[in-house]
């Protein structure tokens, strides 16, 4: 119980730290998430992105900027918090708490890069076809797409975590 409470407290601190870092950071400070995201988007779309100081990653050919607001920090925070709650029952000691924390952060970071790259790729695709949805402005389409992709990403990540957790439990019981 004590280890679980400690883990929740540390997770809350990590979330607070990430939000604090995000509110103060410029695009240059977020290279640790913007750079892999832009690389995944470039690999999927075949578009070249160039790092521009204090702006982010720019594609001049597509007139598209992956900037601070595209970093996906909010998704990372949501994913990390969700995974900590989902895997809290695995914490039995300080060491297992630390490993759960590390797994949650790594999985959240990986998911944030993949889901955010998916969101940006779809946004680029939609930007080329903005005339096909006349009832909505491009900003509204972008917002709806962001909500749908982020929520779907969280649901899929949660299901994946539950399945892996169940399988690990089975392996543990068999061993």
């Amino acid at each position: 119980m004590k280890a679980k409470l400690c883990l929740v407290a540390v997770a809350a601190l990590v979330i607070w730290g990430m939000k604090r870092h995000y509110s103060d950071a410029g695009a240059d400070d977020l290279w640790w998430i913007l750079s892999p995201t832009s690389r995944v988007v470039a690999a999927v779309t075949g578009t070249a992105f160039v790092a521009v100081p204090s702006e982010g990653f720019v594609s001049r050919e597509r007139m598209f900027v992956i900037e601070k607001s595209c970093a996906g920090i909010n998704f990372l925070v949501a994913a990390f918090g969700m995974l900590v709650v989902a895997l809290l029952h695995r914490v039995r000691s300080g060491v297992s708490g630390l490993s759960v924390l590390a797994v949650c952060f790594s999985a959240g970071y990986l998911a944030a890069v993949v889901v955010n790259a998916t969101r940006i790729t779809i946004a680029m695709w939609l930007a080329d076809r903005s005339t096909t949805l006349p009832a909505l402005t491009s900003a509204q389409v972008h917002r709806l797409e962001g909500i749908a992709v982020y929520f779907a990403g969280l649901v899929l990540l949660c299901e994946l975590a539950r399945r892996v957790d169940r399988r690990m439990g089975l392996i543990g019981r068999m061993a």
Partner: protein, 102 residues
């Protein structure tokens, strides 16, 4: 999202409660705690969209899953006749092979 064989709406909502809670916490609760409501109607409109869209997605998932189940049931009720014909044809072919072997 695999929810057993029958993902009823309440069951699916229970299953999606954790991601839904995490999403609402980050997109609604944290901004409200930081005073986003003071910024005027723009946040309220945004918040309504953020609140409603995931719920619609869950309901849509249930509807699509239910439709797929109904279609599968219809297909199963139509197929037995065709399946029994196919079984008879296979049995006849097997008997023919056996006789040819003799």
């Amino acid at each position: 999202m695999t929810i057993g064989t029958r993902p009823t709406l309440p069951r699916t909502f229970r299953r999606a409660a954790l991601p839904l809670g995490a999403y609402y916490a980050v997109t609604l609760a944290l901004p409200i705690a930081n005073g986003a409501t003071h910024s005027g109607g723009a946040f309220v409109t945004h918040a309504i969209v953020v609140f409603v869209l995931p719920l619609l997605m869950i309901a849509l998932f249930c509807a699509v899953h239910r439709a797929a189940q109904v279609l599968a049931r219809v297909a199963r009720s139509i197929l037995p006749a065709a399946r029994s014909r196919e079984r008879l044809r296979k049995r006849a072919t097997a008997i023919e092979y056996a006789r040819a072997g003799e």
